[in-house]
Symmetry: C2
Subunit: 348 residues, 2 copies
């Protein structure tokens, strides 16, 4: 008898197999601008961008954030990376009997702060309570709707000066050989902060979660123009993001290990724990595919934002369909596989 394993929720190959074989086949297909089967960050239906995420992070309060800030930013970001402007959020709470109301209030305050900061209102919600032991303290499911960004047409027009662009949104299938890949900042902070804090390793004194909303950064990039695809490298990290792109765009991607920004404490923690920072989830980072002629300008724009100061052009798109290659520090080349399970579970 096949049963659900932790790795099925990790955002990697096991999860994709679960969805492809045991979930999606039962759901009837309907036409949509960006349908379920494209498994993009959000769907687009009738001009409305729509997304949902359940948050089961453990512990619910951690260095750099809590489940409330995570729930707001995660959902705002999934709308934004489609090239859209989030206009409203919904929040569904599942509370465990016995949860301190003071902790609930702290989390609601955090949701409120990020709602204000991103200017995305929480317009509807739901509250369920389950018996002690039937859920871990609190599970928050946030959904959001958005509209096409006012700057997206400009962005695509700039890109089209240099090459044909198929998709009208920043979808995963939109990369073409020659495109540049930009990462907006250091990778691995969120996953390492949670893991270290939860297990008591001590790295959390130096490493905090990178939780941040990406909506302003995305608008800033679209105003410059030339971006063709965007993703936020959450579960499965950059390794998963690049492999999803390579598979859906039917291209290869080559990245330079030395260019990928990783902070020294995260690098040290990963070495000690035997983890690959490229497979670890982030919650305030953006990966952008951009036509090469605009790469430097987009990089400059990203660096103009506080959360983008350590942005780098990390690689480029090749013709080698489906293959993601990492050029290592010492000049070698290795295939960067998508993670199978999850090195750090329950981080979002």
């Amino acid at each position: 008898m096949k049963r659900i394993k932790m790795g099925h929720g990790a955002g990697g190959e096991m999860m994709h197999e679960l969805i492809d074989s045991h979930i999606a086949p039962f759901l009837p297909a309907f036409p949509a601008d960006v349908p379920l089967r494209s498994f993009d960050d959000s769907a687009v239906v009738d001009g409305i961008v729509f997304t949902t995420d359940s948050h089961t992070v453990k512990p619910i309060i951690f260095p750099g954030g809590d489940i409330g800030s995570l729930a707001v930013c995660g959902t705002v970001n999934d709308i934004s990376v489609m090239g859209a402007t989030p206009i409203a959020m919904a929040s569904a709470l599942v509370l465990e009997e016995g949860l301190e109301i003071e902790i609930l209030e702290r989390i609601m305050q955090s949701m409120g702060e990020y709602s204000k900061r991103t200017r995305v209102p929480i317009v509807t919600g739901d509250t369920k309570v389950v018996e002690k032991g039937a859920a871990d303290e609190i599970i928050i499911t946030t959904s959001a709707i958005g509209r096409r960004s006012a700057h997206l047409d400009h962005d695509l027009k700039v890109a089209k000066k240099y090459r044909k662009v198929a998709s009208k949104w920043m979808t995963d299938d939109n990369l073409r050989p020659g495109d540049s890949i930009i990462v907006s900042g250091t990778l691995g902070d969120h996953g390492i902060a949670i893991l270290s804090f939860r297990e008591g390793y001590g790295f959390e004194t130096e490493v905090k979660s990178d939780i941040a909303p990406l909506n302003e950064l995305v608008e800033g990039i679209l105003e410059v123009g030339g971006a063709v695809s965007m993703k936020d490298p959450t579960r499965g990290g950059l390794a998963n993001t690049l492999n999803e792109w390579a598979s859906k765009s039917k291209v290869g991607i080559e990245v330079e290990e030395t260019k990928i920004p990783i902070s020294a404490p995260v690098r040290n923690a990963c070495e000690l724990l035997g983890l690959d920072p490229l497979s670890i989830g982030n919650e305030g980072k953006l990966v952008v595919g951009v036509v090469p002629q605009m790469a430097e300008e987009v990089l400059d724009a990203i660096r103009g934002f506080d959360i983008g100061k350590r942005a780098e052009i990390v690689g480029k798109v090749s013709k080698d369909a489906g293959k993601v290659v990492l050029r290592t520090e010492v000049g070698g080349r290795r295939i960067l596989e998508p993670p199978v399970g999850d090195p750090v579970p329950r981080i979002c």
Copy 2:
């Protein structure tokens, strides 16, 4: 130290107090056609109707349905009762490690069937896995978006022949003295089916959940016209629905006990268990407020649907602001209070 209790998730007074005191105050208010603070079945933002619900029903498979059919119908219904047509759904799954994949597939099949039947596509989703013991088997959070029904303007135009109508949607604040109240069928089936099956009382051989999508029924009513408010009496049952209406519309409501449709097995079960069928949740029933001149026509239209055959006009709206009165079989009058906690927890 104040802590979350089971009653906080029951849809009654305790839940309203929790939301009013410990959740809503932290969430910044933004303008919307129907905002968070109206606590209606759905919000309306920029013409888009938007709703969310987490489903934590126990057990996940029960007489008449399962958590999948519940999740689809519950969310479709929350959009529909605003006078809207649902156009897409999102589904976020939290799976407990160890869940049999066969059971997951059965639930997905059920979601797929109801998605097909209601013609509302599931366009986006999320999958998380938590350790054994960190959630009960499966939690499904469904969200949905909808558009104003093509028949809503006609409906309101008919109502306006007879009186002024303030809201442009079927909101809770839209009743006025004199309006008729219609219930679309027997009450209490869902809650009693779940409770009886879970506790092994045996009534479930006769009582099945009434889970059903209300979208076609709602469109049918709007085509006739004259409806001014609609609600689906889920958690807290009819007692909660009528009290929410009375409070938000600043009116009284008088209902006739003998008119309220309740099946004999549900009545028997409630008597034996000491439960009030009017406080028990339903998942396929509609309560409609309608201008009195159109009440009979709307009733006929409802009875034309399979799920509406046992519909009745159960009462009318009075001037006695905030007060819900039940005229009993023997001619007495008693206040029908909103339930405080929940006689039957974890039914949705």
